[in-house]
């Protein structure tokens, strides 16, 4: 007598579980009649299985039913909510709009125009003080300004024949003469600014208010709906 091979054990397992087709089934049954070792192995497998069947089926220690929270179900939101859901996207869009409205016009100005505007701001108070010193006479103002602007030219004109040009006087002439020449062109910029800024600020404030209100409304609706949903599930 020989010990059954592992293949025989596999066949016996399938036979035991009713998984053999009719041909293999008949062939195995004829072998079982003539091979006691094979029959003994089958009996051993049957007994093992019957021992396993003796394991008691335990009852679940608790109910495994899912709550909406465990299942990840969110409460149904009111119909108006989808509009408010876009509050943050709306605020983001408006932010970009305001940003563009503030900075793009400045970027589109020519580079040369920005510098004189700044210099003019510093030059204007100086001119005002000169007017005050002169006692408020408008005629003397213009003539004195012209003299002040032309005064630095004298040293450079004198220095030219002696051929001792220095770097500092030249720069001084350039910087001091430029405001006088460009005064007329930048005066219009100065006049426009006070009108643009307050208008833009009002738009910004209005947009900010709308965005904050929409966000708060969305938050309020969400919290209120979730509380009502949790309360309803608790009572059920």
């Amino acid at each position: 007598m020989t010990q059954p091979s592992f293949r025989d054990v596999e066949t016996l397992t399938a036979y035991l579980d009713g998984q053999l087709d009719s041909t293999h089934h008949q062939r195995l049954e004829s072998r079982l009649g003539s091979e006691p070792e094979l029959k003994a192995t089958l009996d051993a497998l049957i007994e093992s299985r019957s021992v396993l069947h003796r394991l008691p089926q335990r009852r679940a220690p608790r109910n495994f039913m899912l709550t909406p929270k465990m299942a990840g179900i969110k409460p149904p939101l009111p119909r108006a909510y989808p509009i408010l859901r876009f509050a943050s996207a709306f605020a983001g869009f408006l932010f970009l709009f305001v940003y563009a409205a503030n900075f793009l016009p400045q970027m589109s100005l020519p580079l040369g125009a920005a510098a004189p505007a700044m210099e003019l701001q510093s030059a204007a108070p100086a001119q005002d003080s000169m007017r005050n010193q002169a006692g408020g006479s408008c005629d003397t103002c213009t003539s004195e300004a012209t003299i002040v602007a032309a005064a630095p030219l004298a040293p450079s004109a004198k220095a030219a024949p002696t051929e001792q040009p220095t770097f500092e006087p030249t720069i001084a002439v350039e910087t001091q003469t430029q405001p006088a020449e460009s005064y007329g062109s930048t005066s219009s910029t100065l006049e426009r600014r006070p009108f643009n800024l307050p208008a833009l600020s009002l738009v910004e404030l209005a947009v900010l208010g709308v965005a904050i209100l929409a966000g708060l409304a969305a938050l309020y609706i969400r919290v209120r709906t979730e509380r009502a949903f949790a309360k309803k599930n608790k009572t059920e």
Partner: protein, 203 residues
């Protein structure tokens, strides 16, 4: 219970319908997890995880045996737990003998119940079988639990364990042979018929 209707409703997000399926299958799911993991608390956690996972993926159920599909989720949850346990092994508080040696198989020797004697035998037998199940590799254990404890056929086991049919036959044969060897060491606890068979083989 109209199972197909409940499955259909659950697939459309009806939690009440799914919970009725949970009530119908929770004992099967828990017992499968208990026999694979061998720990009641871990089995309860794995069962809960399995049901949560099943609800989230129930739309992927395309017909066939719902029980096999559900047991597949619990099998996966058990494998996750076994992998976690392998990564972070814990040292059990083993009872020691007078010679400071660990008591063999403390799980099955420990009498956790205070029941009468006739009940104690059944509890010890259960512990012995559980001990032998735990001595099997996880893949073999899963197949034998699904086949012999849950009564699934090979096609259902193939779905639940996610292995081909040929592999199931092979694993089941090996698992039953190993179980047979292990159970021989608990002969005094086994039913009389099993003992008689042993004696006739040895003579």
């Amino acid at each position: 219970m109209d199972e197909p209707a409940l499955i259909h409703d659950a697939q459309h997000g009806d939690l009440d319908a799914f919970n009725r399926l949970v009530l119908a299958y929770q004992d099967n799911v828990y017992n499968t997890a208990l026999r694979i993991l061998g720990d009641e608390d871990l089995a309860a956690d794995a069962s809960q995880e399995a049901f949560i996972s099943a609800f989230r993926s129930i739309t992927s159920f395309r017909g066939g045996s719902f029980r096999a599909w559900l047991l597949r989720t619990v099998t996966n949850a058990c494998y996750d737990e076994l992998r976690r346990r392998k990564r972070r092994p814990t040292i059990p508080l083993e009872p020691l003998t007078d010679d400071d040696e660990e008591v063999d198989s403390p799980r099955w020797l420990a009498d956790t119940s205070m029941s009468p004697e006739q009940k104690a035998e059944a509890v010890e037998l259960e512990h012995a079988i559980q001990h032998c199940l735990e001595s099997l590799p996880a893949d073999f254990r899963t197949v034998v639990v699904l086949a012999d404890l849950q009564g699934l056929d090979y096609a259902e086991i193939s779905t639940a364990a996610h292995v081909p049919l040929g592999t199931i036959k092979s694993r089941l044969a090996r698992a039953r042979l190993r179980l047979r060897e292990c159970l021989q060491s608990f002969r005094e606890l086994l039913p009389a018929a099993f003992r008689l068979e042993e004696e006739s083989q040895s003579s």
